[in-house]
């Protein structure tokens, strides 16, 4: 599962911490079905109205879940992710930034053995406006997210938030927001996310928000070349100096690899319109809907 649905039962690992508590409340307010939490030191207690277990495996036995979301510091992330994977989570959303690369590799390998979908690491989460969200996105903010037909993919949470805000202001609601993460080794790639939205019946057009570094936008361009749904892209980092990690561990240009120009060229060759600034995106979608058009906000049947 990449696109969040309200039917998904969610386990919050690290639910009792400050951020875990704050965002679990926000998720619940938004309609997300949080069924349990994990904290080995608070097992047996209840927190925010749901039971707390020592491990994801223990939670699965009594409060079955589909999705695990991790509010876990980097040094403990490997253990927590493996626990969720072995417990049988269908999807694990890893918010944690700065997990050691060797631990990330171990997580991805365990996930592929168990058939688990990993979103992240270093993702802000996934949002389906009108249904709920998993992660640390302002899914509860109706100025930013409105139900609609545009699928949004973003490596960055803050930039993804801005893009959704612009869409909502233009009267273009979203079918799903897929935060895939700013790390160099992520479980759900830009291409995976693009395919999921291409196959999603509620999505009519897609905004692909990329970043310099790596080759994920190029791989997504290969897929986009065969799509009939319109895809509009914005790639962050055009004005960034080469050879420097721009905040995200994945956002670095080495030589010509990972460059803005290479990504833009690949996307444009695949028929994707590439915006120069985020504000251009709603217009490039070519759906001809403005803020005044109430039909644009209508939920698809």
């Amino acid at each position: 599962m990449i696109i969040y649905r309200r039917s998904a039962r969610v386990l919050v690992q690290g639910i009792t911490g400050k951020q875990g508590t704050f965002w679990t409340q926000k998720m619940m307010e938004c309609g997300t079905q949080v069924v349990a939490g994990v904290n080995p030191k608070r097992a047996g207690e209840r927190h925010l109205g749901v039971p707390v277990y020592a491990t994801a495996k223990a939670a699965m036995a009594e409060s079955p879940f589909d999705v695990a979301v991790m509010f876990i510091p980097p040094a403990m992330a490997r253990e927590a992710a493996l626990d969720a994977i072995q417990a049988g989570a269908r999807t694990v959303v890893i918010l944690t930034e700065h997990i050691p690369a060797r631990d990330v590799m171990a997580i991805h390998h365990a996930a592929s053995r168990h058939g688990t979908r990993i979103v992240g690491p270093n993702t802000a989460g996934i949002v389906t406006p009108g249904e709920g969200f998993v992660g640390i996105m302002p899914g509860h903010n109706s100025n930013i997210f409105q139900p609609g037909e545009i699928g949004v993919i973003s490596r960055s949470g803050s930039l993804g938030t801005l893009i959704c805000l612009n869409l909502t202001r233009a009267g273009l609601g979203q079918s799903a927001f897929l935060g895939i993460g700013g790390d160099p080794m992520i479980g759900t790639t830009t291409r995976d996310a693009l395919q999921a939205l291409d196959e999603d019946a509620r999505t009519r057009a897609i905004v692909l928000v990329g970043e310099i570094g790596g080759a994920m936008e190029e791989a997504a361009a290969d897929y986009a070349a065969g799509m009939s749904k319109p895809v509009v892209s914005f790639i962050a980092g055009r004005a960034s100096p080469p050879g420097k990690k721009m905040g995200h561990a994945g956002a670095i240009v080495s030589g010509s690899f990972g460059s803005y120009e290479g990504k833009r060229r690949a996307l444009e060759a695949a028929g994707v319109s590439v915006a120069d600034t985020p504000a251009e995106i709603p217009g490039l979608l070519g759906l001809g809907q403005g803020r005044s058009d109430p039909a644009a906000r209508a939920l698809p049947a």
Partner: protein, 384 residues
């Protein structure tokens, strides 16, 4: 983080049982003379974290004590690829028969460690891949399978290593084991030399450690080469802020890497030049006051754009820090805000009441105003 050759060899290769030449690290010509007495004829090698040492004249032989002094003195006065040479490594001279290449790196696309070996050492590996693909072997290691000396032999089979097959296989297997143990992103021996006496020795080593693993490699991480940073960048790092100083005049303060890069892009799209990269997203969103001080300390800054789009980061917390710091610092430059997302109502109120500033609805408009202000400040400066 990167390591100098001497640290990589002495702290990582040698403890892993990978042979390295006898060597002494010297910080001045006198130490070089003493090292020569111990080593005899040797190579004097500049210790800088860049691969362009040889071509830049940073590696020279010394056959007498007097030569060791003069060569060390000359190399210690050099700057190579922007790095001042702070030390030289004096290393026993080796009679080289063959040069190979061996490396282990993290292949992000396959999410696996990748072992590389080439019979053409001393060359850039990308060049070998392009011009002599038959000389290059690569093996993606499935974490469960591991990579031992038997696997290394299989990787090398069919290559003519002139009888050094066994020694090389052991070294490649040790290199793999070590790369995992020290959380290396890249560990590269180039060249891996076969000497006239039959020994196989690592003549140079490049090591990059995974920054995210520094917490569990504390001892080794403490010996990493100092990153080339400006004073302000160093100050940022000390405060846990990722600050990159640029040569433009529009200061940037935004939350999250993606939004910060985008703010820089829009500045450049509007005809301006960003003065810095600085993000206060993630856990750093409470540090907006320290961040603002940093941006304003950059002497090139003529205007400032503050672009917040709160998801995880709360714009009200960030705005509170910025308003407080702005009042305290009272800078003489114009500032332009755009604020959306988590906490925006409170954040807008704080900026409006605290600074008498009305945030722009569109970040593009805030950026354009900041670029225009920087331009007119620059032309005022020119007129004076």
């Amino acid at each position: 983080m990167n390591f100098l050759e001497h640290a990589a060899k002495a702290r990582v290769l040698a403890p892993a049982g990978i042979p390295v030449p006898r060597a002494v690290l010297c910080r001045n010509p006198e130490e070089a003379v003493a090292a020569f007495a111990e080593l005899g004829p040797c190579m004097v090698k500049a210790q800088v974290p860049t691969g362009k040492r040889g071509k830049a004249g940073g590696i020279k032989p010394a056959n007498t004590a007097e030569e060791a002094r003069s060569v060390a003195e000359r190399i210690l006065g050099m700057a190579i690829d922007g790095h001042a040479v702070g030390a030289v490594l004096l290393e026993e001279q080796a009679r080289i028969v063959r040069e190979f290449y061996a490396a282990v790196l993290i292949d992000t696309a396959s999410r696996c460690p990748l072992v590389l070996f080439s019979t053409e050492g001393g060359m850039d590996i990308e060049e070998v891949a392009a011009t002599q693909p038959d000389a290059l072997r690569r093996h993606r290691v499935e974490p469960e399978a591991g990579f031992d000396a038997t696997a290394a032999r299989a990787l090398l089979s069919g290559l003519d290593l002139g009888g050094a097959e066994g020694a090389v296989a052991d070294i490649v297997a040790s290199l793999y084991e070590t790369s995992g143990r020290v959380d290396a992103e890249l560990i590269e021996i180039n060249p891996l030399a076969v000497l006239a006496d039959g020994r196989v020795v690592a003549l140079d080593c490049k090591l990059t450690l995974d920054d995210s693993a520094a917490f569990r490699q504390a001892e080794l991480a403490g010996e990493a080469a100092e990153e080339p940073m400006t004073d302000l960048e160093r100050e940022g790092a000390a405060n846990g802020l990722k600050f990159i100083q640029l040569d433009g005049d529009v200061g940037v303060l935004a939350n999250g890497a993606g939004l910060t890069m985008t703010t820089m892009d829009v500045i450049s799209h509007c005809g301006g030049r960003p003065a810095n990269f600085l993000e206060i997203g993630g856990e750093a969103y409470t540090k907006s006051e320290a961040a603002l001080k940093l941006v304003l300390s950059n002497p090139g800054v003529k205007s400032l754009v503050v672009n917040f789009c709160g998801a995880f980061a709360r714009t009200d917390v960030m705005a509170e820090g910025v308003v407080a710091a702005w009042k305290r610092l009272d800078p003489d430059i114009p500032v332009f805000f755009s604020i959306h997302g988590t906490g925006e109502d409170e954040a807008v109120r704080l900026v409006r009441e605290g600074l008498g500033c009305e945030p722009f609805d569109l970040m593009e408009d805030a950026v354009q105003a900041a670029v225009d202000a920087a331009h007119s400040a620059a032309s005022r400066g020119a007129a004076r």
